[in-house]
């Protein structure tokens, strides 16, 4: 069994964790809908919020790329706020119109927003009520993606956590099974399923499943492996169902993928030779793919603005596998337990900055003049115009980057801005 890593304190693992408060430049949790609504093929996300919420999602979604998306906003207006219209009746009416229009929907998420939270609109009761009236065709769940409570990828966490109480119960006598948690690209999921099968682990399930009625069962014999570093509430909800976490770094880069798979192999007592045989081809291909980019990235100085909570694993990958130097690793939140293995792997003296004070951080970035800055969409062009190379981080969530066969693609994402700069003569 894999020993649980001790909680690292700042001195223990040689990483300097700073906390900063002030203006933040990050998306709210509603943004997760942009990829979740493609991941679960028969789910629909209805934000209950303001025009700002609707505008945010369509702007963040690569700006209106889907002509018929599986998300929408029920925009609260002054009649609702003044009590002229009963908000629950209004919500029922909107959901009715929606279901009529999209009979293919099997799972409907009511997604709370800043305004719905501030006025304390009880969406959990609304979800119960609507679930009853729409049963058995449609299940209705709710979670909050509000910006006063969630940052960017925490929206996925809240969404998956809302699924957990509804997951089928695994019988007590069931054999141990592995649950991989966190939305992954379908191609990555399929690759992992193949590797686990090679290792002899046939009963591997994924949360979220691609369809609403295929969500995995969970119980006391479920061991779960997080595929994403931002799933605090989901993990807690799974623990409440009796599932136990397999501590591991995250499957980014060849090393991260090997350690992640290794943790599962150890938990299920996979024979080392068997593990070796199952992972050798992938490791070899990843090694080859990464070699193309190492020369380009080695020695480059990297600055992370806080965005997706993927920053720490990405920083680990870039420093250990690509030889980059980490100037500052900003992250909106740091889950110290889930990231314990990652933090241990960071070079001594790495500065991890939790939270944000935007203008101060921009000052630090300008002063440091990093070779590559990883930041949100709003900051990329302004920093480019000041002469810094940037990689906008939302692409890291819209691209398959996990696993052996994507390790090269991940490195390439960081190389491309640097290569581009060398090509352009204008």
């Amino acid at each position: 069994m894999n020993a649980h890593a001790p909680l690292p304190d700042a001195a223990g693992c040689g990483v300097e964790i700073r906390q900063e408060y002030g203006q933040r430049a990050v998306f709210c949790g509603l943004t997760g809908i942009v990829w979740l609504h493609r991941k679960i093929q028969d789910a629909f996300f209805l934000v209950v919020g303001s025009r700002t919420c609707a505008h945010l999602i369509q702007s963040a979604a690569g700006v209106m790329i889907f002509a018929e998306p599986r998300f929408a906003t029920a925009i609260i207006d002054e009649r609702d706020l003044a009590g002229i219209a009963d908000m629950n009746d209004e919500l029922d009416r909107v959901v009715g119109r929606l279901i009529e229009r999209r009979p293919d929907i099997k799972l409907l998420f009511l997604v709370g927003s800043c305004p719905s939270e501030v006025i304390k609109l009880d969406l959990s009761r609304a979800a119960l009520r609507l679930s009853k009236s729409l049963a058995p065709d449609v299940r209705v769940l709710n979670y909050s993606g509000s910006g006063i409570e969630t940052t960017f990828t925490q929206g996925e966490d809240a969404c998956l956590a809302s699924l957990v109480p509804d997951l089928p119960a695994e019988p007590a006598e069931a054999a141990a099974s592995l649950l991989v948690v966190g939305a992954l690209a379908d191609v990555v999921e399929d690759q992992f399923a193949r590797i686990f099968a090679e290792m002899g682990l046939d009963d591997v399930r994924f949360l979220p499943a691609r369809r609403a009625n295929e969500m995995p069962a969970v119980g006391r014999n479920t061991r779960y492996l997080l595929a994403q570093p931002f799933l605090t509430d989901t993990a807690r909800a799974l623990e409440e169902r009796g599932a136990r976490r397999i501590a591991a770094p995250f499957p980014l880069g060849a090393e991260g993928t090997t350690r992640w798979l290794q943790a599962a192999a150890d938990a299920f007592g996979v024979d080392p030779q068997h593990f070796e045989a199952a992972t050798a081809p992938g490791r070899k291909r990843a090694g080859q793919a990464l070699a193309h980019y190492r020369e380009r990235l080695a020695g480059k100085r990297i600055f992370f603005f806080p965005d997706s909570q993927l920053e720490v694993p990405l920083a680990r990958f870039l420093s250990r596998e690509m030889g980059t130097e980490l100037v500052e690793v900003g992250t909106p939140y740091l889950h110290r337990a889930h990231l314990a293995d990652e933090l241990e792997l960071l070079p001594r003296g790495t500065v991890v900055n939790e939270g944000q004070s935007l203008d101060d951080q921009m000052d630090r970035c300008r002063a440091a003049k990093p070779d590559l800055t990883i930041c949100g969409l709003g900051l990329a062009n302004p920093l480019e115009a000041e002469g810094l190379s940037t990689k906008w981080s939302i692409e890291l969530l819209f691209t398959p980057i996990q696993g052996y066969d994507q390790a090269g693609d991940l490195a390439e994402l960081f190389c491309r801005p640097l290569v581009r700069r060398t090509r352009l003569e204008v």
Binding site: V26, A60, G378
Partner: protein, 529 residues
């Protein structure tokens, strides 16, 4: 509550940001949670601006709600002043902060900063982006341009005007200004201030030095122009110079206010559009069915140009700008149609399906609808995407703007001869109505039949039922004979749905038991094209 798939306008504070970002030396402190910072990317990604908008967000969190969000706001204002040293500030709340009622105006005032601090009341649950832009600009002008500036007597000097309306994130505002300046320069008129784009708060203080104002976009600048007219006796021109005829009217109106002769500017052939439209190659444009939707300024202009400068037939006209519903309704009546006043994307989609257009002139949203239906489309109005901020000069206004419109609207269409050949040889395997125009790649279109299917299928959104004369019994349409159905396929796809509907109506009115090839042609003769 309104079910919204896509929204045409952002909330009103986005309008305020468009004003602040267009100006220099102005800073906006917005009481808002962290998610609202997405708005930066509208400017830095979509418009490719090279600097962050001059906006500080308080980004309060749930844990702050029980404590003192007002204190967070005051700190943000104080720090923003210290860091950015603006000439003036605007302060306000986004939708969430509006609910917690912290009174940003009062809090900012309490700081007693040595610059003008202008509070904005932008009710987020009632109003939208364009209103927010208009209100913000009006408040700024009122606060900063309330003192008269001595105007020199008109004799022995060139006339002077202000240009009002262009903002950040505006549809071709950047290029329209160039054309307006060109026209004014040719008339011998000097420009005092262009605002908000490029103006400082100090510049706004000198607005009253001009003899008159030019309002480029009434949605944004008319309220401010009305204030200036009342306060400083500055008349204004709000003819929107989009299209040849509108540009001529604009030049004449401006010349009249300035007391100059418009003839030299109008002489010759300042735009190529009239000759391009008259040249015989354009004959095939005659009566093309066009559906127009956008903001009021652009939709109105487009309807007039489509009908009178390109010879199209306007089969649909609408706007999401409710403030200008009256003007749009009046224009629609000129074309014998009912205007669509709605900001509901689903209504617009249904209206386009029902109108069976051959060309859609709309926003980014209508581009999606048109793509799905397989109908050509050109974008004429915000909301827009990154590709609608082209690198090249691409104005909508003035004589050059008219040239751009001709190219932009005609380009997506099938060329004249190609369309004829399609009509003649309907069974050619490579060259049929399932392919896009050959100059646009000619790849098979996934949804060549979408228009027809869309009409045949029950409408996705509630849409007004087609008008059926009361005297007719409403039975299902008569069945189609197989050969009639086959013959229908020979009609170009973009009018096939219309042909089907007309034939069925014809059969119903005559109580025919079955639709034959004969019925199809009888109906064609009866209704004409």
């Amino acid at each position: 509550m309104q079910l919204t798939v896509w929204t045409y306008e952002g909330p009103p504070h986005i309008g305020a940001m468009r004003i602040a970002t267009a100006m220099k030396g102005l800073h906006y402190v917005l009481h808002a949670p962290q998610g609202d910072t997405y708005a930066d990317l509208l400017f830095t990604m979509i418009e490719r601006r090279d600097a962050r908008p001059p906006v500080t967000y308080t980004t309060f969190q749930a844990q702050d709600l029980g404590r003192d969000t007002a204190e967070i706001f005051k700190n943000a204002v104080a720090k923003a002043y210290e860091r950015f040293q603006p000439q003036a500030m605007i302060v306000g709340a986004s939708c969430t902060a509006e609910l917690i009622q912290d009174d940003p105006g009062g809090l900012a005032k309490a700081l007693a900063l040595p610059i003008p601090v202008i509070p904005l009341e932008l009710p987020a649950y009632q109003k939208k982006e364009n209103w927010g832009a208009s209100e913000t600009f009006y408040r700024l002008v009122r606060a900063l341009a309330n003192q008269p500036v001595e105007r020199a007597p008109r004799e022995n000097r060139r006339p002077i005007c202000n240009i009002l309306g262009p903002t950040a994130l505006g549809f071709r505002h950047r290029d329209d200004i160039v054309e307006i300046r060109k026209l004014l320069g040719a008339l011998g008129i000097d420009v005092n201030v262009v605002a908000p784009m490029g103006a400082t708060p100090a510049d706004l203080g000198t607005l009253s030095a001009a003899d008159f104002n030019v309002v480029m976009y009434p949605e944004i600048a008319k309220a401010a122009a009305q204030y200036l007219e009342k306060t400083h006796k500055q008349p204004f021109v709000d003819i929107v110079p989009i299209g040849v005829k509108a540009t001529e009217r604009f030049v004449e109106a401006v010349a009249k206010l300035a007391g100059v002769d418009p003839a030299p500017v109008l002489a010759g052939a300042p735009s190529r559009l009239p000759w391009y439209s008259r040249s015989v190659d354009s004959t095939y444009l005659t009566g093309k069915r066009v559906f127009i939707f956008g903001d009021a300024t652009h939709a109105l202009s487009a309807a007039r140009i489509a009908a009178t400068e390109l010879g199209f037939k306007v089969v649909g006209l609408g706007t999401y700008s409710r403030e200008f519903a009256r003007e749009i309704r009046a224009e629609a009546a000129e074309h014998g149609i009912e205007a669509l006043i709605s900001d509901d994307y689903l209504d617009v989609e249904a209206a386009i399906q029902a109108a069976q257009p051959e060309l859609v002139l709309g926003t980014q949203m209508e581009r999606h609808i048109a793509k799905r239906l397989g109908v050509p489309c050109a974008v004429i109005s915000a909301p827009i995407h990154v590709q609608d901020f082209p690198a090249r000069h691409s104005p909508q206004m003035g004589f050059e703007g008219a040239n751009v419109l001709f190219d932009t609207w005609v380009h997506p269409l099938m060329m004249g001869l190609e369309e004829h050949l399609l009509g003649m040889f309907r069974e050619d395997p490579e060259f049929h109505d399932g392919v896009a125009p050959s100059h646009l790649g000619g790849k098979p279109r996934e949804s060549a039949d979408a228009v027809e299917q869309a009409t045949a299928a029950p409408p996705l959104a509630p849409s007004p039922a087609p008008p059926i004369p009361a005297s007719i019994t409403i039975d299902g349409p008569a069945p189609w004979a197989a050969d009639a159905e086959k013959e229908l396929r020979k009609i170009p796809f973009f009018v096939r749905g219309k042909a089907r509907a007309n034939t069925e109506r014809f059969a119903r009115e005559r109580e025919l038991a079955i639709i034959t090839v004969e019925t199809l042609y009888d109906a064609k003769a009866h209704f004409g094209r």
